[in-house]
């Protein structure tokens, strides 16, 4: 198995397959999970008929339905921008997966500045959202786009600052390096080496800030003001239909996947699970990572169906008055601990 993975071309094919097919596929699974979980939280049944058992084919059926729809472009819309926007959003989301390590080998490119790249690529989606809002020639869409931009400025900072603590602790920005740093034993009890993910090594505040900021970045409740169905009538999505709407939709769930994957890698030990022999990680690694991602995705879904939406100014004050100072304190604390210990 591992000899096969040494082959460059086999590895490349696997990587491309993951980005191009597996990730939209997983996004479909998350869509289905959201349908079912929300249904059970609301004492409903959810999808039931499509595909036979449990309505498992519902997201597929939805996708096929969307593809058959007419691709409407509003008359006053800025056509090229309007058409490019969903692609920018989807590309920005998929580009993040370049640096997500699914196993020691299964990573498209282990960049030295991996974390930095992930955050930079992830924020490209906001440009797409802004493009969509602006080009739709719709006041609600424009407001949604502007809200998304304001949100990005407010939440990119805590997101980056929350990660800095981990980077200090690991001493590297390479995603694989961060996982390896979490495999290093922290201390020994007799013969047993205790290996802890960074979450249990004192990055609790960092993790909390990261997840909150990630929610805002993903435009998920309670930070879904750019979409805000009851206020802005879906905001920047208002004028989109058919396949272009599907792209936004897929990007949302793929974004949930990528953000959760980054959080799992940085704070929860990524593809590593204490007790699993390191030789088996090539095979088991992706499964371990997916389990952690699923847990985080479940939390994100859970929050969405529990909380109302904040107001834009409340979101700003939460970011600037609480999250950023907290994140700075977290960095200072981590740095001191790193030097002292």
């Amino acid at each position: 198995m591992s000899a096969l993975l040494e082959n460059f071309w086999v590895l490349l094919a696997l990587k491309v397959l993951i980005i191009a097919a597996v990730i939209p596929g997983v996004a479909l699974v998350f869509i289905f999970a959201e349908l079912k979980i929300s249904a059970h939280m609301q004492s409903r049944i959810g999808p039931y008929f499509a595909g036979g058992r449990w309505g498992w084919a519902q997201p597929l059926a939805d996708g096929i339905k969307f593809m058959q729809k007419e691709d409407l472009v509003p008359e006053d819309a800025d056509r090229p921008v309007f058409k490019a926007a969903p692609m920018v959003v989807l590309m920005g989301t998929l580009a993040v997966f370049v640096i997500v390590p699914f196993s020691p080998k299964l990573i498209v490119r282990d960049l030295d500045i991996g974390v930095f790249y992930a955050l930079a690529a992830g924020s490209v989606t906001t440009i797409g959202v802004l493009m969509a809002g602006w080009s739709s020639a719709n006041k609600y869409s424009l407001m949604g786009g502007l809200r998304a931009a304001a949100q990005l400025i407010a939440y990119e900072l805590p997101l980056v600052l929350a990660v800095v603590g981990v980077v200090i602790q690991a001493g590297t920005m390479s995603m694989n390096g961060i996982v390896v740093a979490q495999i290093e034993p922290v201390f020994h009890i007799g013969e047993v080496a205790v290996r802890l993910p960074f979450l249990l090594q004192g990055q609790v505040i960092g993790f909390a800030i990261f997840m909150i900021a990630a929610l805002a970045e993903l435009n998920r409740t309670p930070f879904d003001m750019p979409i805000a169905e009851s206020e802005l009538v879906m905001g920047y999505l208002t004028e989109y239909s058919g396949i272009r709407f599907t792209m936004f939709f897929l990007a949302e769930y793929a974004g949930m996947f990528s953000m959760s994957a980054i959080a799992a890698t940085l704070f929860l030990g990524g593809y590593y699970l204490p007790g699993v022999p390191e030789g088996a990680l090539d095979v088991l690694g992706p499964l371990i990572l997916m389990a952690k991602v699923s847990l985080l995705v479940f939390i994100i879904i859970w929050l969405r169906w529990t909380f109302p939406r904040l107001r834009e100014d409340q979101l700003q004050s939460l970011a600037w008055r609480w999250l950023i100072p907290l994140a700075l304190a977290n960095i200072a604390g981590t740095a001191v601990a790193k030097v002292v210990l």
Binding site: Q42, S43, T221, S230, F307, P308, R309, R311, Q314
Partner: protein, 396 residues
């Protein structure tokens, strides 16, 4: 000397504040908008997200009920008025019947009055449950909707059990109540009483309704974000509320303890023990809280009423063809949405000469231009929702 040079000189001499010119944008909220409860239209002048001026445009749902009533007989009008406020259809029928009965000098039997009262309070519960469920939805929380609507279904089932209809019972007759069930020739002969098992099922449903109130208190009122969004938002002071003719729970949320159930005698409310919950500040939170407490009070009334329900006739002695003597009367009632009044002018025929309908939502909405000035767009939605209006009740 070119212009730029002049400008530079000018700048050096006096302090000029150069502000970016930001003209107001006209934003049409509605008539098709998910949060305007139908076809309300707000023409808002917005600066960014701040509302500078707002003008409600109503009339998209005007159905001309006052005019329609003039060419119909009194029993026919009953079917019309339950469609004014369709969320609590039954409650609108009662004051009209009371008005006609007063003109005819007829007093309905006790049992009929009790049944009217129980059904009115059930309509109140179902209307308030719709509000309790849809308001969090407007703030972005979809889950309370399902929880509250599930219990509302229990109440609607009870209304259906008695009247045969969930929303538009058409159950009142001049001089009492008579079920619509048993159509055809039966309808003339059979006066069907309350169905079997009604009392037991009512008590069980009431318990569930109070249970969901507790759930809502935990799930919604205990939610930090909900408090952030509603506390101190959309405050209507008591004097403003009175000046604009705001009534019902919206008025009581502002601290005015005024309830027509206590002051008027259109139904025998004086025989039951219940409180009038009132808020303090008149913000969105108080309006939510007051309605939640009113469900508990309504449950109390229903429990007392079904337990002490007198036996007897359902219909007073009235002629087969209702003819109302000349005269006019105004009867008002405490409907779920506020004060509902009917001014009936009779010229002595089978139908009214003129019927003026005073509906609560219409007056409650009149406060909007004053209230929404200077608010943010998200708060506009929060405030609109908290006023709990129904467009049919606004336009009639």
């Amino acid at each position: 000397m070119n212009d730029q040079h002049l400008l530079a000189m000018h700048h050096s001499e006096v302090q000029v504040s150069v502000e970016l010119e930001t003209p107001d944008v006209t934003l049409n909220l509605g008539p098709q908008h998910p949060s305007t409860h139908g076809v309300l239209r707000l023409v808002a002048k917005v600066d960014g997200e701040v509302i500078n001026e707002v003008e409600p445009v109503i009339g998209y749902m005007h159905r001309g009920y006052e005019k329609l009533a003039e060419v119909r007989t009194y029993p026919q009008i009953v079917a019309l008025v339950s469609r004014i406020d369709w969320v609590s259809g039954y409650a609108s029928e009662v004051p009209l019947m009371v008005a006609v009965e007063r003109l005819m000098d007829v007093v309905p039997p006790d049992r009929a009055q009790y049944i009217r009262l129980v059904l009115t309070e059930m309509a109140r519960i179902s209307s308030h449950l719709v509000f309790l469920s849809s308001y969090p939805l407007e703030l972005g929380a979809p889950t309370p909707l399902m929880h509250a609507l599930r219990e509302r279904e229990r109440v609607l089932d009870l209304i259906e059990m008695v009247t045969g209809g969930r929303f538009h019972p058409n159950f009142n007759r001049v001089g009492g109540v008579k079920p619509a069930a048993g159509a055809g020739s039966n309808q003339k002969k059979v006066v069907q009483d309350l169905p079997e098992g009604f009392v037991g099922q009512t008590l069980a449903a009431i318990q569930d309704v109070v249970g969901v109130c507790d759930d809502m208190e935990d799930l919604v009122l205990g939610n930090e974000i909900f408090l952030e969004r509603t506390k101190g938002v959309g405050i209507i002071p008591a004097d403003k509320a009175l000046a604009y003719g705001v009534s019902g729970p919206n008025l009581r949320a502002s601290g005015v303890r005024f309830d027509i159930r206590k002051t008027d005698d259109y139904l025998p409310y004086d025989r039951f023990d219940f409180d009038i919950p009132a808020g303090e500040s008149g913000d969105c939170f108080d309006r939510y809280w007051v309605r939640l407490q009113e469900i508990r009070e309504a449950s109390k009334i229903i429990r007392q009423a079904v337990e002490t329900m007198p036996s007897g006739d359902l219909l007073a002695k009235v002629p087969r063809i209702i003819k109302v003597p000349k005269g006019e009367v105004y009867v008002r009632a405490e409907n779920p949405k506020g004060e509902m009044g009917y001014h009936v002018v009779s010229e002595g025929g089978r139908g009214p000469y003129r019927l003026k309908i005073r509906s609560a939502s219409f007056s409650n909405l009149s406060v909007l231009p004053w209230l929404l000035k200077g608010q943010l767009v998200p708060d506009v939605i929060a405030i609109l929702g908290s006023l709990d209006f129904v467009l049919g009740d606004v336009d009639r």
